[in-house]
């Protein structure tokens, strides 16, 4: 039996305007991603990878075309509804971690719960800290962590809202190859637990462990 589609895009187009210039970041792109898939989005710089990720993550809305997230059409949704959809479905991991320097590992991981108005999740946070392998570092500040550890915190933060999809933008871009390998393992582990993973990466090693690759060039799937 085929698994259900969590993401489905049809003729997805995103145009940015810079002054009088129009930049076609995505051009009539169609694709589908099923539940539990591990997809790597690859392509050269400027091919539209990150734009695709932002649209899927409800951080932006398409100029044209259709994009359904868990059955909900995101085109034309208001900011309030995008926030709700994002909270319930998406966990984001960034290349530059974006950890708050004055918060401990535990507090950084807890941050999304503050916005989601969820209390009493201590055991959930402990479980995530264990999952990302930072039990001994829970009360440390980001300045006391290595790059790999910081990315683990960012992954933990993405997991705390129990999202259905993890979107990672160049998650190993700032890490050395040994540390990157450990992060790959962590992603593989998360995927094996049923999470859908979509990763934008230049790292071909990481792309190799994905179930499927979506190649983008000049805003189109090739």
């Amino acid at each position: 039996m085929k698994k259900e589609e969590v993401i489905s895009a049809k003729e997805l187009t995103k145009i940015y305007r810079r002054g009088s210039e129009e930049i076609h970041a995505l051009n009539d792109v169609s694709f589908a991603i099923r539940k539990g898939e591990f997809v790597a989005v690859v392509g050269p710089s400027g091919s539209g990878k990150t734009t695709m990720l932002n649209l899927i993550g409800c951080l932006d809305t398409p100029t044209r075309g259709s994009l359904r997230l868990n059955g909900t059409e995101i085109s034309g949704l208001k900011e309030k509804d995008l926030v709700k959809l994002r909270r319930e479905n998406i966990g984001f991991v960034f290349q530059q971690f974006f950890l708050l320097p004055t918060l401990t590992v535990r507090e950084n991981i807890e941050l999304p719960l503050l916005f989601n108005r969820k209390d009493g999740y201590k055991s959930k946070i402990d479980e995530i800290i264990g999952l990302v392998g930072l039990k001994a570092r829970a009360e440390h500040l980001p300045s006391q962590l290595s790059g790999g550890e910081m990315q683990r915190v960012a992954i933990g933060r993405a997991l705390v809202n129990e999202p259905k999809i993890i979107l990672a933008d160049e998650p190993t871009g700032n890490l050395d190859s040994a540390t990157a390998l450990k992060i790959f393992e962590l992603f593989r582990n998360l995927n094996s637990q049923g999470l859908t993973l979509i990763i934008v990466s230049h790292n071909l090693e990481l792309a190799k462990i994905a179930h499927r690759k979506i190649y983008l060039r000049d805003g189109q799937v090739v």
Binding site: K49, L59, V83, R86, F92, Q96, T102, L111, F115
Partner: protein, 392 residues
């Protein structure tokens, strides 16, 4: 973790900047509180001091009546005199309870001015029934006796002069016996020498001359009517205590106008400083806000966070400013005493709870006003714009 702890941790990231901004607010609030506190304290003390004079009207020689009255209260000397016969005319007016002649003089000894009141002791007992005297008050016909204010009898809290001491008095240093020392009144009386009126007239060579007639009326509501009657006496001008208070408050009011202008400028500068600090902080944290939105924060959440940070800064500044004003009130009062035209005895600045609450509320109000724009700006950032610089 909640929004307040997150806001506090954010502010602690840039401690130096946060402390300087809080200090800016604190200074503005300290000045505001000091002025308001001085305003109410001054009026209260002045009104109390005038009440404690026990006098409703002063009859003074024609000239500058308000200046003369202010000097008389303060213990100054005016170069004009009424003739002693004026007292008989004054006493003829209906509704007068006490009319007491006084001669004010001043002499210098050891480089310091000594202020002398020639008084009628029986009248003074009626004008100032609260006077407590260690020893006794003199009688009107006694010679070479005086009563002194408590501050003249003590030096740094220790007795310097005692009842029974014979001291040189007046410009010639005639020996006078201290028959009484006033218990502390908390007013200017603590600084004065009191002698029987005829003795003062003799020592200072002012035969049959008086400086003023202190009048207490039977019914306060009749003061203006009685004043009108007194004005008809030749060479006499009358000043009521209400008029004196009004004149002094007007003089103080002009000094306050200047201070208020300074405060308004201080508050505007501090408000612009807060807005600037917050906008800088919002700009620096654009990507961070983008991340927060990506992990589930709404625009309202981001705006709320920035708003709480503003309120923490201004409330912190308000509390610090009040502490500076309350603990530094002695210094501030000393400075104010130098610049106002007349400063009554007693504490001019008393921290009243209502005023503390008002200033705190005002500082939070500044926070509301200053926080709105940065909060709206940060809440409107779209996550894409916020993180774009990091993306392709």
């Amino acid at each position: 973790m909640n929004f307040v702890t997150l806001a506090i941790k954010n502010l602690l990231r840039r401690r130096g900047r946060t402390i300087l901004t809080i200090l800016g607010v604190a200074i503005a609030i300290a000045v505001l509180f000091s002025l308001l506190s001085f305003n109410s304290g001054y009026e209260k003390q002045l009104s109390g001091e005038l009440d404690n004079l026990g006098i409703h009207i002063l009859a003074v020689p024609k000239g500058c009546p308000y200046e003369a009255a202010s000097l008389i209260i303060h213990g100054g000397v005016i170069p004009k005199y009424l003739m002693g016969s004026a007292i008989d005319e004054v006493k003829k007016v209906d509704g007068i309870e006490v009319a007491s002649p006084m001669l004010l003089q001043q002499y210098y000894k050891e480089g310091r001015p000594h202020i002398v009141y020639g008084i009628d002791s029986d009248d003074m007992k009626r004008l100032k029934p609260w006077w407590q005297v260690e020893g006794r008050l003199f009688t009107q016909n006694e010679g070479n006796v005086l009563v002194i204010g408590r501050n003249l009898a003590e030096e740094e809290g220790k007795p310097k002069k005692n009842v029974g001491d014979v001291v040189p008095f007046g410009p010639d240093g005639t020996p006078f016996t201290i028959v009484g020392i006033l218990e502390r009144t908390g007013t200017q009386d603590d600084e004065f020498h009191f002698v029987p009126l005829p003795m003062a007239q003799r020592v200072f060579d002012k035969p049959d001359q008086i400086t003023t007639i202190a009048i207490m009326v039977k019914d306060i509501s009749k003061i203006s009517e009685i004043s009108g009657q007194l004005e008809k006496i030749p060479d006499v001008q009358v000043v009521t205590m209400t008029q004196i208070m009004g004149t002094i408050m007007n003089l103080v009011g002009s000094a306050q106008t200047l201070l208020i202008s300074v405060i308004i400028i201080a508050i505007i500068i501090s408000a612009v400083g807060i807005i600037n600090t917050l906008l800088m902080s919002v700009n620096e944290r654009t990507r961070e806000f983008g991340m927060m939105k990506a992990v589930g924060a709404s625009g309202l959440d981001i705006g709320k966070l920035v708003f709480i940070e503003t309120l923490l800064i201004t409330a912190g500044g308000g509390i610090l400013g009040l502490m500076i004003a309350i603990f530094g009130s002695g210094l501030i009062e000393g400075f104010v005493r130098e610049i106002v035209p007349y400063a009554p005895a007693g504490n001019l600045m008393t921290p009243e709870p209502g005023l503390i609450g008002l200033c705190l509320l005002f500082s939070v109000g500044i926070g509301f006003v200053c926080g709105i724009y940065p909060a709206i700006r940060s809440s409107r950032l779209t996550p894409m714009e916020a993180i774009r610089s990091n993306l392709e």
